[in-house]
């Protein structure tokens, strides 16, 4: 099971192609309201994460994910 800090680093890497170059990421960055991801981009991001971690992220938990920290916390439970 990857540690929390390792998860954060990997999420940052996976997120990069979705972001404008000048954006600075923190664990509190909100995926939709702050980083501007569309719902379609969020689903594509989740697919990349699923491939990378070899897990399936249930749709049921998506409403609980607003920030990068939320995402990492959910991945801790799933990995």
């Amino acid at each position: 099971m990857p540690k929390y800090n390792e998860l954060i680093t990997r999420i940052y890497t996976i997120l990069q192609p979705f972001l404008k170059p000048e954006i600075h990421l923190t664990e509190d960055s909100e995926l939709v309201t702050e980083l501007g991801l569309t719902s379609l981009q969020v689903m594509t991001l989740i697919e990349h994460i699923e491939d990378d971690f070899d897990i399936s992220v249930p749709l049921n938990i998506l409403p609980n994910i607003r920030t990068i920290r939320d995402l990492a916390n959910q991945l801790v439970k799933l990995t």
């Binding site: 569309t38 719902s39 379609l40 689903m43 697919e47 070899d54 897990i55 399936s56 992220v57 249930p58 749709l59 049921n60």
Partner: protein, 401 residues
């Protein structure tokens, strides 16, 4: 803050379209001239977006059956199937559906939405898992949300991705329902059902296939994609609608699992709604018989599909990936799609405008559906209407909507 705040984006879009004099959603069909022609929003048009695949909505046998049913049984059943709403004809329709699909059991629902949503909501529950295709219809998404099951989506029509998801489930596969469609409604593409069935055979789970857009369209008997790809025995539950190829309204689920007869009394969208009205049941039964008696309707449907698909390609439009009775033209720019939809109406073709998030990607669609009742000349008129778009200015240089 108020309850209405969340509707503001919709209110804004509506106002924007109103100002531009364009209202593509809720277009009013004022008068029918035939199964394929009507007056829509004041324009005489060829209907090229009605999912009336076999063109049976004005079939004399269906109309006569509906009229007789109204005279003999009244205009409505006024009750649920579990109370006073089961008439002999509902039972006969279920028997005829079971015989047509070569299955042991069938349930008739009041709408296709009630069938797909209800079965998706009921078959799996808390502690179970549903693995569904990412591009599944809204009724299936609504159903799986109601189920309380863990919901996992796999990449659209990607059997390899489905396999990965099933492998990750381990022993939970025994409590897993897989959901896919036969033909997907927006682009008309067919599921690789043979590959999906092979994955299911390897890992397990139960498979539900929504054949709403493929009934009467594919397979030697018109039973859909599962029949066409030779995997009907792998499909545990087949659901669909009467509102497309059968020209009525209503839905069904067929299965060889004897449990379906008990599941019937657990599906809330079956229990807590009035049963289909007698006229609807009668015209559906007539249409189901005609579907079987007139295989030439399928041939005509596919001839028309090919003519429209190839014609649009030749005119330089970006069309959906496979030849299908659903032919979708992809348009990157939303404003251009709206303008073009309106232009098509003015030039005599009614099609469906689909914008994100209803479209599968971040682009818009001018979605056409052809009918066996279209004549080659009518398909040509649809193509002529599309040809005028190539000469129309881009919205950025005309007016903003």
């Amino acid at each position: 803050m108020s309850l209405f705040d969340k509707f503001q984006p919709l209110i804004d879009i509506r106002a924007e379209l109103d100002r531009a004099g364009i209202m593509p959603f809720g277009a009013v069909t004022e008068k029918f001239l035939s199964a394929t022609e009507a007056i829509v929003n004041g324009h005489e048009v060829i209907l090229a977006g009605t999912n009336n695949y076999l063109g049976l909505t004005f079939e004399p046998e269906c109309i006569t059956a509906a009229k007789t049913a109204i005279e003999e049984q009244g205009t409505g059943t006024t009750g649920s199937r579990m109370a006073n709403g089961t008439f002999a004809e509902h039972v006969k329709l279920e028997q005829e559906l079971a015989a047509f699909f070569d299955k042991q059991h069938a349930i008739v629902f009041s709408t296709g939405y009630a069938a797909t949503m209800g079965m998706a909501a009921t078959l799996a529950g808390p502690d179970d898992v549903i693995v569904l295709d990412a591009d599944s219809h809204a009724s299936l998404y609504d159903g799986v949300r109601l189920s309380g099951a863990e919901i996992i989506r796999f990449r659209h029509s990607d059997a390899g991705d489905l396999e990965k998801r099933l492998r990750r489930l381990g022993e939970r596969i025994d409590n897993t329902l897989i959901i896919v469609e036969g033909v997907y409604s927006m682009l008309g593409d067919r599921a690789p059902l043979a590959e999906i069935a092979a994955v299911k055979r390897r890992y397990g789970g139960l498979l539900l296939v929504d054949e709403a857009h493929s009934l009467g369209m594919l397979g030697d008997h018109g039973r859909g994609v599962a029949e066409e790809q030779g995997v009907e025995d792998d499909v545990d539950f087949m659901v669909g609608t009467f509102s497309k190829s059968l020209g009525a309204i209503g839905g069904y689920c067929v299965s060889n699992h004897p449990q379906l007869e008990a599941i019937r009394f657990a599906v809330r969208s079956y229990i807590f709604t009035a049963s289909p009205s007698p006229s609807v049941v009668a015209s559906t039964r007539a249409a189901l018989r005609l579907l079987q008696e007139r295989p030439e309707l399928r041939d005509r449907l596919w001839d028309n599909a090919r003519q429209l698909y190839i014609g649009l390609q030749e005119r330089g439009f970006q069309v959906s990936p496979q030849v299908s009775p659903v032919v979708a033209v992809t348009i990157e720019d939303r404003d251009q799609a709206i303008l073009w939809w309106n232009r098509l109406l003015e030039h005599g073709a009614y099609v469906n405008l689909v914008m994100p998030p209803a479209s599968p990607g971040d682009y818009s669609l001018l979605r056409c559906s052809v009918s066996a009742a279209h004549t080659p000349a009518q398909i040509e008129r649809i193509l002529d209407a599309f040809a005028t778009l190539k000469n129309s200015p881009h919205p950025a240089t005309s007016h903003t909507v």
